[in-house]
């Protein structure tokens, strides 16, 4: 049970442009059966067959967990990324047959919470779409603060306001609206849990303020999938399988290892779950660590790398794969 999760054969049932940057994709099972039940905060890994290249990107499920006739994800176009989002926007049309993973939840609600305080930035809104739907159905107590660049880029802001009214607060960067974080964090009832999903700067800021205000770390939950960044190509030797591979500019190290026919375990492909952690046997050069899994000490040691998001620059790198 090493490599990833069970797969689901799906067909794209709808593609809906949401705004200038974000498009929503709907998936149904090809056999017409119901999809597996999931919990709010879960993601699926979408396999993209783009010519010779296979990309596997994680996206949060944003539909209601009560509706398993279809899964929906929202993809923000990243014009300078590795091309996964561009592939989704340009090449994925209704009727296309695709393969996705079973849902995996690394950003689960803590069901002990008396209240759920949610902070979203930009496309980080997607897991909260599912979590708010789940909580609303159970009569759960939540409050959502959502920061977006402009009203027209406020993905699903109108939907959320319509569904949950005053439980949703919106902040627009172009109007200089800023969440009063200290006040929001200081005025919550005991037993509140805090959830944050958005750009890494925002996550860091919220975690720091919460810690300074005395929030126990067990009550602060965050999700940051670091999308793999493109970078200069580099060569790697896989010592166990005896292969030498090249990692292209637009490819992640994990994808290059897989393309060589080696299958390390993975779940999130975003540097948070720890499954693909790989030992470094030797190196001559510099690591570009982008993960949220290894400790700073691990990063400094040069003994470990998370191949899903991290890269390397230098003369030689030998991995235990």
């Amino acid at each position: 049970m090493s490599t990833g999760t069970t797969k689901l054969d799906v067909v794209v049932s709808d593609v809906v442009p949401v705004n200038d940057l974000v498009t929503r994709f709907h998936f149904r099972r090809r056999d017409g059966e119901l999809l597996p039940t999931f919990s709010g905060g879960a993601h699926v890994v979408v396999e993209m067959r783009d010519g010779e290249r296979t990309r596997l990107n994680p996206y949060s499920l944003m539909g209601s967990p009560l509706n398993t006739s279809e899964y929906t994800i929202s993809v923000r176009r990243d014009d300078v990324g590795r091309g996964g989002s561009l592939f989704m926007h340009r090449s994925v049309k209704p009727g296309l047959e695709m393969v996705i993973s079973y849902p995996v939840n690394l950003f689960s609600l803590d069901l002990r919470a008396k209240k759920h305080l949610m902070l979203a930035g930009g496309i980080g809104i997607t897991p909260f779409m599912a979590q708010t739907a789940q909580l609303a159905a159970e009569g759960g107590n939540f409050e959502l603060h959502y920061t977006c660049r402009t009203a027209s880029l406020g993905t699903y802001a109108d939907t959320l306001r319509e569904r949950y009214d005053r439980r949703v607060r919106l902040y627009h960067d172009d109007r200089d609206e800023r969440i009063e974080l200290e006040r929001v964090l200081s005025s919550q009832p005991l037993g509140t849990h805090l959830y944050v999903c958005g750009p890494s700067g925002m996550i860091g800021w919220v975690r720091d303020r919460a810690a300074a205000l005395g929030w126990p770390s067990e009550t602060v939950h965050f999700e940051h999938f670091a999308a793999p960044q493109p970078g200069a190509p580099f060569d790697v030797t896989l010592a166990v399988t005896g292969k030498t591979i090249r990692v292209d500019e637009q490819q992640s190290l994990l994808e290059a290892i897989e393309a060589a026919g080696v299958d390390p375990p993975y779940l999130c492909r975003g540097g948070v779950c720890g499954q693909c952690e790989t030992n470094v046997i030797s190196h001559d050069g510099k690591f570009i660590h982008n993960d949220h899994w290894l400790s700073e000490e691990d990063h400094r040691s040069g003994c470990k790398i998370m191949p899903c998001v991290s890269r390397f620059e230098g003369r030689s790198l030998v991995l235990e794969r």
């Binding site: 999760t5 069970t6 597996p36 999931f38 995996v104 939840n105 609600l109 002990r112 779940l267």
Partner: protein, 346 residues
């Protein structure tokens, strides 16, 4: 077709027995002639026909008697079934899992019909035919976990996953090998395993926790564990130690074959979809020595395992007092010849 359910007891006159077919399907836990802890976890996939793995949730000839015994235990001690307030959703997850699996594996005994949230559950062996609204606790006579685990063989622990750990926050535990849900409720994985000897030093629990927290939906896993019990008693709980503890002084060379039972737990681990919790069914199988030694390979191997078991493990499993008597009895069935690899009888 279908299973013929035995009328038998796990207390008082101890009339529990295995039929010859059930002896052969017994999940003998030793694949070689010695035993030491290992992280012996494997994917929980369907196994050969006629084995306990033929279905992922096994129902056998002891089903009705076990459910009657559970009802007796609960009547005396309601704290054997507990669910902390945040675990109700996980209870519904478990109800769905057990109804689906039992109906799938044994359609002649169980039927589940679903129209949206409107469910009908028919359990013919226990004479139950209930309709209810999935997710609405007011439509069932018990909470969802208690309702379905009064109709499912084995103990069930539901573990909440948070803070990188697993927490024993709900369970139905009436067939346990000397541990207490009431004592362990609310504890995390390291806390409830604290009494186990040797394994901590080997780092086994750290690796096991890492594995369990990564169990994925649709990919359950399993392992076997074992101990021994005097008399076929399902409820060997600390709460009732005064009832079963003294049994261990009653083993004599004459009654070993009837009194001493190998107790095997088939433990499986499943990710629950709505709650993101893990359910840990612990299914107990008992076999008396007289039944076990009808398979000569098992007799030889069990002799060698018990004879060579490290002292700490023998103490932890509570075998100390009757081990010499048992080893002496088994030695007469061990001619020293080789045993074939693997678990099954020859």
């Amino acid at each position: 077709m279908g299973i013929t359910f035995r009328k038998e007891t796990f207390r008082d006159d101890f009339s529990f027995k295995n039929s010859p077919e059930h002896i052969r399907r017994f999940p003998f836990p030793f694949h070689e002639d010695s035993y030491m802890y290992a992280v012996n976890i494997e994917p929980h996939v369907v196994g050969p026909k006629g084995s306990v793995l033929e279905n992922l949730i096994d129902v056998d000839e002891h089903y009705v008697a076990e459910m009657q015994d559970r009802a007796l235990v609960l009547a005396e001690d309601p704290l054997r079934c507990q669910s902390l307030p945040h675990m109700t959703l996980a209870g519904w997850d478990l109800l769905e899992l057990l109804m689906e699996q039992q109906a799938l594996g044994y359609p002649e005994h169980f039927t589940l019909t679903r129209e949206g949230d409107h469910w009908r559950w028919i359990n013919r062996p226990l004479g139950i035919d209930d309709t209810f609204t999935f997710g609405d606790v007011s439509t069932l006579p018990y909470g969802p976990m208690e309702y379905i685990t009064r109709q499912s063989q084995g103990d069930f622990c539901i573990l909440d996953q948070r803070d990188g750990n697993l927490w024993m926050d709900a369970g139905m535990v009436t067939t346990q090998a000397d541990w207490s849900l009431d004592f362990d409720i609310g504890m995390n994985f390291f806390e409830w395993h604290a009494p186990v000897p040797l394994a901590h030093e080997k780092g086994i629990f750290i690796r096991a926790l890492k594995f369990l927290t990564n169990i994925q939906q649709g990919k359950p896993a399993r392992r076997l564990n074992w101990t021994m019990t005097i008399n076929p008693r399902l409820d060997t709980s600390p709460e009732n130690y005064h009832k079963w503890g003294p049994d261990r002084t009653t083993v004599t060379p004459e009654n070993v074959g009837d009194k001493v039972h190998l107790r095997v737990e088939l433990q499986s681990f499943w990710r629950l979809p709505r709650s993101n919790g893990i359910v840990f069914p612990i299914r107990c199988y008992l076999i008396k020595m007289d039944e076990l030694v009808t398979q000569p390979k098992w007799a030889r191997r069990l002799h060698r395992v018990i004879r060579d078991l490290p002292e700490e493990l023998a103490t932890y499993k509570g075998l100390t007092r009757y081990r010499p008597t048992l080893v002496e009895w088994l030695s007469k069935l061990d001619d020293g010849s080789a045993t074939s690899p693997g678990f099954g009888p020859d």
